[in-house]
Structures are given as C-alpha cells and as structure tokens.
Assembly symmetry: C2
Homo-oligomer: 151 residues x 2
Amino acid sequence: MKISRRGLYALKALSHLADAYTQGLVKIHDIAEAEEIPEKFLEQILVALKNARFVTSERGREGGYRLRRPPAEIVVGDVIRLIDGPLAPFGDAVELAHRVRTEPRHPGLFDLFLDVRNAASAIIDHTTLQDLNQRNRRALTARARKIKSSV
Amino acid sequence: MKISRRGLYALKALSHLADAYTQGLVKIHDIAEAEEIPEKFLEQILVALKNARFVTSERGREGGYRLRRPPAEIVVGDVIRLIDGPLAPFGDAVELAHRVRTEPRHPGLFDLFLDVRNAASAIIDHTTLQDLNQRNRRALTARARKIKSSV
DNA sequence: CGTTACTCTACCGAGTCTGTAGACATAGAT
DNA sequence: ATCTATGTCTACAGACTCGGTAGAGTAACG
C-alpha cells in the first residue's frame, strides 16, 4: 500500500472540505492555495472524487465543492482505494485469497500478505474524515502547548 | 507498501534456498526453473541479496547459492525493505515521524500513516523464512487433506 | 452577454519496473 | 592448459506510471 501524491492531495482536500462542511461551497482555487496543491492537478483529483460521489460541485460564480456526506461518514480507506488502488501489498484482497488457495509452492507467502492488508485496512477503514480532523487538531494544540511552555 | 515482482521473486528464491538450507549450494538455473522466474532477472536479484549478505555464492562447476544464515534468522521485513524500499505508505518511518511534528495543517494524517506502517512492520518483522516455510507446508497439507476428503 | 467558476481531454517529461543481452571472471574436470 | 559450467557486471530497451501542464469547452449568475 503506497500513497501517491494524488492520494495525499485528495485526503488533504477532503480534510479541508470537512473543516468547511458547515460553511457551504469552497472553490478549487481556495483549496489549492491553502493546501499548496497545484490547482490544475487538484482539479482532476476533485473530478475523480466527484465521480465517486465523495463530493458535489456547483458551477459559475459562487460555485465550488463541498462534501456530499458529513465528515463522519466518509472513510479514509475508501478514498485511498479510489485514488491509489487496493491496500494489499500484492494484488487486492480477492486476488490474495485466491492465491492462498491455488499458489502451488508458496500459499503461506500470500497468506502473510493478506494479514498485512487486513492490518492496514483495519486502521484506515475505521478512520473517517472527522477522526482525521480531530487528530489534526489534537496534534496541533499539543504542539502549541509545547512551544508555549518552552518560551 | 507495495511488493514488486522483484520482491516476490526474491522471497520465493529465499524460501527455496531455505528449504535447501541443509543441502548446500543451489544453482540459479534450478531456482529459476522450480519457481518459474526468468533466469537472467533472478540473477540480478540474487546479486542484490548477496550484497545485502542474505546469501553467499560460489562460482564454477558445482557452484551456486545458499543462505548465509539459518532460515530462522532471516526476517521477511528486511528482505522487503531491501528490494522494495520502506514499508510505510508514505516515505519511511523517520520521515513520517518528522512530518507528524512539522506538517503545518495535517499532522494527524501522517500520524495515521505511521500507525499503518507500524502495523505492517509488526507483522513482517516478526516473520522469518522459517516461519514462512512452515506456513507454506501447513497450507499445502491442509489443501491436500481437503482434496482427499472430497474424493 | 460577460465573468467566473467547474469540466473534459490531450499531452509531456521523468522516472520506474520487468526483462533481455552480452561480455567477462572463476572454479573445477579432463 | 584448456574446456565448460557457473556466477558477475553493465548496458539498455519497451511498457508503464506519476506528477503536472495546457487549453478549449460548458454552466450559472449578475
């Protein structure tokens, strides 16, 4: 499981939209600027997220993007799978399960890979955008306390 | 963490050498044939494994490869890191830890990635070639029983 | 009817991955 | 000595992926 630049940008953008969830539409331009993502590149990513129904958009002046569902209902694992493909170190869960049953000499190897995939998905499939933003806030306030106390 | 063809071949070859550990040298050709790996490609992989001191070799007639240490002392995670790079979904463990501390807006995201990496390495860093071959044997005998009982 | 946004498609350069080719070095058998 | 079977080393080629850019097109709204 490898997170590409695309995947990272997608998660940052969604996280941004989650923060703005109650405030309506956000323009690509604003996300790109705040998150330091090349605007035209982000554009493509948002289209993919739209096709996968994570977000909706409106055109024209005062247009922009917003989450289609509340942050607590968007799972990080689903986003990663969409952008970067399966989580498993080799193939996807279905292919791995198949090879565990059929691989003539090394079924145990694929079984090991399946364990790894399950461990990874156990984490990211139980983390939502809401969790992510809570985590961000906690880490940032902890950091702020640390800086203050060191002054 | 993605396993490349190279990584898969490396693990299969080492697993093969682990099986033959008590029997001395094995030729590239024999490994390639048994494991269905392109011979010249396997050659390169074995050189890498040799430079990383997982295996040793002897040249000439009756030459070949063998594990440098017993199968129980060779850790799958080390092999994967050598061939396919770091296990983390983004960067390596050191980089992740750094970004958790410095990322201005999304430290929690990298913290999440670090959790995933730790879960993956917990598994593959506690699996040796010996474990792997035991797993293979168990899976294969279980499969054999199943076939027999279904006749 | 013009401006501001999103939409769609094409493309490009750099890098990576899988695999092939071939010349070379060395150990052992005859 | 020399032949032969083996490992060693370097180069490279074709396909693919990734990150990013470009530009024309379309919808909403004032």
